[in-house]
Symmetry: C2
Subunit: 218 residues, 2 copies
C-alpha cells in the first residue's frame, strides 16, 4: 500500500487516513479468483504479496490474459466504468491483497486533493499501460513481444526494489502466450532461442536476464 501511494505525494497523515479505509486483507490461493467478470464492483485492491493475472472472456468462450499484477500493484479498476467487473482476477500463486472500498475511497478523493491526484494517475497509468500493450500486440513480432514482456517485468521488479535481472514468473507458457497474442509453443521456442543466443537463462519459471542490452535490441 505504501508502495502504491508513498512515492506520489501523500503525506504520512493522509496515508494514515487511507489506511483507515482498508477494511481488511484477503488471501487468495493459487488458481482462485479474487473477483470474476460480472461480479459487482465494490472494491479496489492492491496486491500485497504474490501475483495475479487478469483475464477477459470473449463471447464464444475464448479467454485472454489482459494483465499481470505483481506485489504493490493495483487491481480492480476494470469495474469502475460499469459497476461490474469486466475482467476476472486470478492468483498465479498463493497471494494476499488489501481491500479498499471504492465508495470510501471516492469520498477521500473529494476531501484530499493529493488523494484525488493519486487516483487519477492510477487510472491514467493503466490507460497508458494498456495502450502500450496494444502496440506490442499490434506491431511487434513474436521475438519482440517476448523480449518486451521480459523487459517490462524486469523493470517493474526493479521499481519495487527487487532484482531486475532475476525473477520467478509464475505465469505458465500458456498465460504468457495468451497475454502476448501467441501460442504457448511459440513462447517456449522463443525463450529457448533467446537462451541459445545468450540473452537469458531460463529454468522453467525462473528467468535470469543475462544480456539486457541484447534483449532491448531484439
Amino acid at each position: 500500500m505504501r508502495q502504491l501511494c508513498m512515492p506520489h505525494g501523500l503525506s504520512c497523515d493522509e496515508l494514515a487516513k487511507l489506511e483507515t479505509l482498508i477494511c481488511s486483507a484477503r488471501s487468495v490461493p493459487r488458481g482462485e479468483a479474487l473477483y470474476r467478470s460480472g461480479d459487482r464492483f465494490d472494491n479496489i485492491y492492491a496486491v500485497r504479496s504474490g501475483s495475479m493475472k487478469t483475464v477477459m472472456a470473449h463471447r464464444g468462450g475464448r479467454e485472454q490474459v489482459t494483465g499481470l499484477r505483481l506485489a504493490g500493484e493495483a487491481l480492480g479498476l476494470d469495474g469502475i466504468s460499469n459497476d461490474v467487473h469486466a475482467c476476472s482476477a486470478v492468483a498465479l500463486e498463493d497471494s494476499t491483497v488489501c481491500i479498499v472500498p471504492y465508495t470510501a475511497l471516492k469520498s477521500l478523493c473529494r476531501e484530499i486533493s493529493s488523494m484525488q491526484e493519486r487516483m487519477h494517475k492510477l487510472l491514467g497509468e493503466q490507460i497508458v499501460r494498456e495502450a502500450a500493450q496494444m502496440m506490442v500486440l499490434g506491431s511487434l513480432s513474436a521475438d519482440e513481444r517476448v523480449a518486451a514482456f521480459l523487459l517490462d517485468v524486469s523493470e517493474r521488479n526493479a521499481q519495487r526494489g527487487y532484482s531486475s535481472a532475476e525473477f520467478n514468473l509464475r505465469m505458465t507458457r500458456e498465460d504468457m502466450g495468451s497475454y502476448l497474442g501467441m501460442t504457448l509453443e511459440t513462447v517456449s521456442r522463443t525463450l529457448s532461442r533467446f537462451q541459445k543466443r545468450g540473452l537469458i537463462d531460463t529454468q522453467g519459471k525462473h528467468i535470469r536476464i543475462v544480456d539486457l542490452d541484447g534483449l532491448r535490441q531484439v
Copy 2:
C-alpha cells in the same frame, strides 16, 4: 459536451458549471495534430465534430493507431498519468474539439460528486475499451478483427443517434490495418470478401452494413 455528460447524472445546473470551464473550442484541420506525444498535458478534449485517431510511436519509428474518436467522445486522457501526452491525436477530417482545462476539472470533481463519478467512469470506460481491444488484437483472426471493428463503429454511431447501418469511416485502410494489427492489403481483401459474402457494401470510405447478424457471426 452534453453528449459526453448528460446521460450520466449531471443536473443542468452542474452541467452549466462544467460549461463555464470550457475555455474555448478549437478546430483541427484534417491531418493536423491536436496534441503530440510528449506535449505537456493541460486539457482534456471532447470531439465536437469530425473524428480523430490517436497514434502511439514505438522507439524505432514504428507507429500504431491506438484509438478512434468520433464526435461526442473524450480525448486526451493519455496525458494524466505523466503530465505529458503519451499519444498524438490527429484529425481524420476537419474537426472541432471542446477544450476542458484539467486543473479546473479536478476542482469541480472535488466539489460535485456526480462530476467526480462521471470523471472516474470516463477513465474506467477507456480502460475497459482498451482491454477489449487487446483481446481483439491478441486472439481474433483477421476476419474477426475487421468484423469486430465495423460492429464497434456501428454501435458507437447508434449511441450518438446516427445510423448504425451506414457511415463514413474517415480512416484510411492503412489506419485501420494499424489499429487492427494487420496490413492495409489484408484489410482491403477482407472488406472485399465481406462484400462478396453480402455482409457489407463498401464504396471506399463509405460503409453500409447489410447483414448485421452475419457480421456478428464471422
